[in-house]
């Protein structure tokens, strides 16, 4: 028994109410829920509302609203948030490692050259642009607009993450330098 357009619209409205706005998830979840309801209607011969409510209950955990770290004002379904968090964590680790390596490399070999020839901010902007282009090339350009590429386009997360790590490492290094200088001065005085 196939669902009517009105019944499918009801599923649509439920998903939108749950903020499932991402195309990749929405098409599949709607189709999956419709199948489950159709199967139940064939087995139980109950009406649409009873079966709809029963199926929706089984999706409660996956569609319960959760916050993303950088979207405190908007909640998305758990199914989406879990997937986004996994990908965001992997990207954050990659960005952190790249930033550490580049910072150490610059600190050891090129710091004097960079100080003389480039301004610190110019280097940072170039690095961020490369990072963003790399990210877009590898993950953002997919055939269908997925939830992940959508979020990246919206929040420029790579730029924010890179900036955060770069300044964090820079600050830690400055503090270390300060404490080492302080220790050296104290030793010299004593």
């Amino acid at each position: 028994m196939n669902l009517t357009t009105e019944q499918l619209d009801l599923i649509d409205r439920y998903l939108e109410q749950r903020n499932l706005i991402f195309l990749d998830f929405k098409i599949e979840v709607k189709d999956h829920i419709a199948f489950q309801i159709e199967k139940k209607m064939e087995e139980n011969e109950n009406d649409f509302e009873v079966n709809f409510n029963e199926v929706i209950r089984s999706w409660e955990h996956n569609l319960s609203p959760k916050y993303l770290l950088h979207t405190k004002d908007v909640k998305f379904p758990n199914l989406v948030v879990q997937q986004l968090k996994k990908k965001a964590t992997a990207y954050s680790v990659l960005t952190l490692l790249t930033t550490i390596v580049l910072t150490i490399f610059a600190k050891i070999y090129f710091i004097q050259y960079l100080d003389k020839n480039f301004k610190y901010l110019q280097c940072l902007v170039v690095f961020i642009c490369f990072s963003y282009l790399f990210f877009r090339r590898n993950i953002g350009l997919q055939k269908l607009p997925t939830s992940f590429s959508y979020k990246i386009d919206c929040f420029f997360m790579p730029v924010l993450v890179t900036l955060f790590y770069y300044f964090l490492i820079k600050t830690v290094l400055k503090l270390l330098e300060f404490f080492l200088d302080l220790q050296f001065s104290l030793n010299f005085l004593s």
Partner: protein
């Protein structure tokens, strides 16, 4: 199967194997096929299935086709060329893993 942790590491391979056999499939169809093959023992949850499908798609192992069926859009998955090659490798790895597990669980059978 009560402990879903046991199949989680093999979920991607299970999906790829099914797609290799059936050409193209949609999410609900995959869950039902697995249930049917295992006589209800293995129940793939939606929370595990869709993230796995999206991951395989992002890795270029799966391709997607969207069609309008029964008044609604349906997303079909099929293996890419890279995915077909990868399926062979992953199945070989899984078979090796199962063999090793059998040796550990039931050493007598391995002789």
């Amino acid at each position: 199967m009560k402990n879903s942790q046991l199949y989680k590491g093999s979920l991607n391979t299970i999906i790829m194997k099914l797609l290799e056999e059936n050409g193209r499939m949609y999410g609900y169809e995959i869950t039902q096929r697995v249930k049917e093959i295992t006589k209800g023992e293995l129940n793939i949850t939606e929370g595990a299935l869709y993230p796995a499908l999206h991951k395989l798609e992002a890795e270029d192992l799966l391709d997607v086709e969207v069609e309008k069926v029964d008044n609604r859009l349906r997303k079909y998955y099929k293996l890419t060329e890279k995915g077909t090659t990868e399926t062979v490798n992953r199945l070989a790895e899984l078979e090796e893993f199962i063999k090793n597990m059998q040796t550990i669980v039931n050493p007598k059978l391995s002789y």
